[in-house]
Amino acid sequence: MKLLTGNDLATGDVIWWTGSGWSLHVGDAVDAGAEGEAILARESEARRVNAGYIIDAEQGANGPLPLHIKERIRASGPTVRADLAINTDIPIVRA
């Protein structure tokens, strides 16, 4: 599956496309299918996302999980600061 991610323009927060808007939680993300480029173009233009891009993901127990470790860390927060984690239930290393 394909997820859309990027950063909130004003705050810089990592955000995920939910089908109708953007969420801080990758668990809310939906498969953008073949629509990714078109959605990103529209959302960037409206400044609802900054520096957006498409990533590969798989379905996990609690929702979509990025395939690549870098995106998993983006989704979870720094692994060395559990106190700052956004999503603590994300397995960083793919099983």
């Binding site: 705050t11 720094p78 692994t79």
Partner: protein, 543 residues
């Protein structure tokens, strides 16, 4: 310390307002990200793995108490309560909001600081010896030169769009505490026939193609240093590769031309530069120099230090070094507590260090390229009281230049360029050696970790270096041995196949165990490695 004159302040203030307007236009949709990105980067604002990251310049790592206090306030008010001191002697904030960035720059400007030229293909923050001005072994104070170079390179129109970024270091001791020869240009101030001048090195660097800078000129008098450096840069600016990012640093040019030919071209350009009269007037250097005059040291201070507290005695032996002035000492504050994040400090710790500088170190601090903090002017009589306060705040680690004093870049926990995490590896190694009790026996050990080939963690220059790589989507760590960023500069060699996160910790211990078994009297790890060569270490690791 140098203080801004009206020009410095006006330039920095104007830049804040310019950026405020640029950020406003971006937020209002009057600029695209493609248009805005180079503008924010010129002000040190990156978009990193989790958020915007702001890199603040700390010129040659020198800070006043009020400046340090402001760094703490920024961490609290605009970030998540901490900052990260870097190998460039700077500080980075990991959680900046674009909507706050101009206010942060204004706060920085109010204490004579900025984030200009902390990104982009320009001359970056000048680095120097963290003990400048107080080291017993220096021939002169390198800070006036570092400051002169800062002023000369700030907004230098000819060098704002170089082929690649450009880093300059200035030292003035035979002992190199600034990894001078791993810079694009390294200047070592020396005395020849009673005259101060500089030995010039060019073409060093780490990254993808590490190189130790060769000597280009054995002596240039102090009134010609700027013209000579300018000549070095002009040749690079003209012929440096702009077609290939990976070949664009000056080290590639010097390597491809050969030292002789690069030197010939620099000398030719230098002869031309001399006709232009661009060296600053002596009066200007004297004006700058006056800011770095020795403080009014107290005389007749006691040399005695009460060592009855064993924990204090340990810190004293490890973290305190000789000062040029009787009765004073240089105190290193380690930002490497075992299991902590190398180089990170909380807002409270930063503010405490500012307070301690005010009370115990003539209101001045330094940031080291090893991601520690220095209080350069501590009366020996105050050392115990200072240590007590540091220790209570978690800043009392007694491990300077020991195996747990690890340089680690932010790696994949924060950096969007990373291949692997650096910080957890540093934490595991420090914890392993705290547990096995071998740290003291190992003695001097410079262990350096980078999360990718860009080498911000100086892994090439580690006695033991670790490089994180991506192996089919998983983190893997290569081990290097035998590097040094000091006066005996050398580049580490890769031992062989890489390891996973636990395997690399085991491999490091096998390396240090062999050293402990094989060392001769008085040998550091690096000396033993150089004597024995790679083979027995390889055998111990992969056996």
């Amino acid at each position: 310390m140098y203080r801004y004159d009206n020009y410095d302040q006006a330039m920095v203030d104007a830049r804040v307002e310019e950026f405020r307007d640029q950020a406003r236009r971006r937020l209002a949709g009057e600029m695209t990200e493609d248009q805005f990105k180079p503008l924010r980067l010129m002000n040190g604002l990156y978009l990193q793995l989790h958020a915007y990251m702001l890199r603040v310049a700390i010129p040659y790592g020198t800070l006043s108490g009020p400046q340090m206090r402001m760094l703490g306030q920024i961490a609290r008010k605009y970030d998540k309560g901490y900052g990260h001191f870097t190998t460039r002697q700077n500080i980075q904030y990991n959680w900046i909001k674009l909507e706050d960035a101009a206010d942060i720059l204004a706060d920085l400007a109010s204490v004579e600081m900025h984030a200009i030229q902390t990104s982009g293909n320009c001359i970056r923050n000048i680095s120097s010896d963290q003990y400048a001005g107080v080291a017993a072994d220096e021939v002169t104070d390198p800070r006036p030169w570092a400051e002169l170079l800062r002023q000369w390179s700030s907004f230098h129109p000819e060098f704002s769009y170089l082929p690649r970024k450009f880093k300059i270091a200035v030292i003035a001791s035979a002992q190199d505490r600034a990894a001078m020869r791993l810079h694009d240009i390294g200047l070592e101030l020396v005395k020849k026939d009673g005259v101060i001048g500089a030995k010039v090195f060019a073409g060093g660097g780490m990254g993808r193609t590490p190189m130790v800078a060769p000597e280009i000129r054995d002596f240039v008098t102090e009134d010609e240093i700027i013209a000579y450096v300018e000549a070095c840069l002009r040749v690079y600016n003209r012929y440096g590769r702009r077609d290939n990012k990976y070949k664009a640093r000056i080290k590639i040019l010097v390597h491809e031309l050969g030292v002789e030919e690069y030197r010939r071209q620099v000398e030719e350009e230098f002869a031309h530069m001399k006709t232009l009269g661009i060296d600053p007037p002596v009066a200007e250097l004297d004006r700058i120099r006056s800011y770095f005059a020795d403080p009014a040291y107290e005389s007749g201070l006691s040399e005695e230090v009460n060592r009855s507290d064993p924990d204090f005695a340990l810190w004293l032996d490890r973290n305190v070094v000789a000062h040029k002035q009787p009765g004073y000492a240089i105190a290193n504050i380690s930002l490497k507590p075992v299991g902590g994040i190398p180089g990170d400090a909380t807002a409270e710790q930063i503010e405490l260090m500012a307070d301690l500088a005010e009370r115990y170190s003539l209101d001045e601090l330094r940031v080291t390229h090893a991601q520690n903090i220095v209080l350069p002017y501590v009366r020996k009589a105050d050392l115990y009281a200072l240590w007590k306060e540091l220790d209570e705040a978690g800043l009392g680690a007694a491990n300077l230049d020991r195996i747990s004093d690890i340089i680690a870049c932010p790696g994949l926990d924060y950096c969007s360029l990373a291949n692997a995490r650096s910080i957890p590896v540093a934490q595991k190694i420090a914890t392993r050696f705290a547990g096995n009790g071998k740290e003291a026996a190992i003695g001097e050990m410079k262990l350096k970790i980078s999360g990718c080939i860009n080498a911000c963690g100086h892994h090439h220059a580690g006695h033991i270096g670790i490089l994180g790589v991506d192996r089919k989507g998983t983190e893997n760590y290569q081990l290097l041995l035998g590097g040094s960023g000091a006066e005996d500069c050398s580049l580490g060699q890769i031992t062989g196949p890489g390891f996973d996160e636990n395997g690399i910790v085991d491999a490091v211990e096998r390396v240090t165990d062999l050293y402990l078994a094989q060392r001769s009297e008085g040998e550091r790890f690096l000396d033993t490695y150089r004597r024995l060569g790679m083979a027995p270490f390889k055998e111990a690791i992969y056996g």
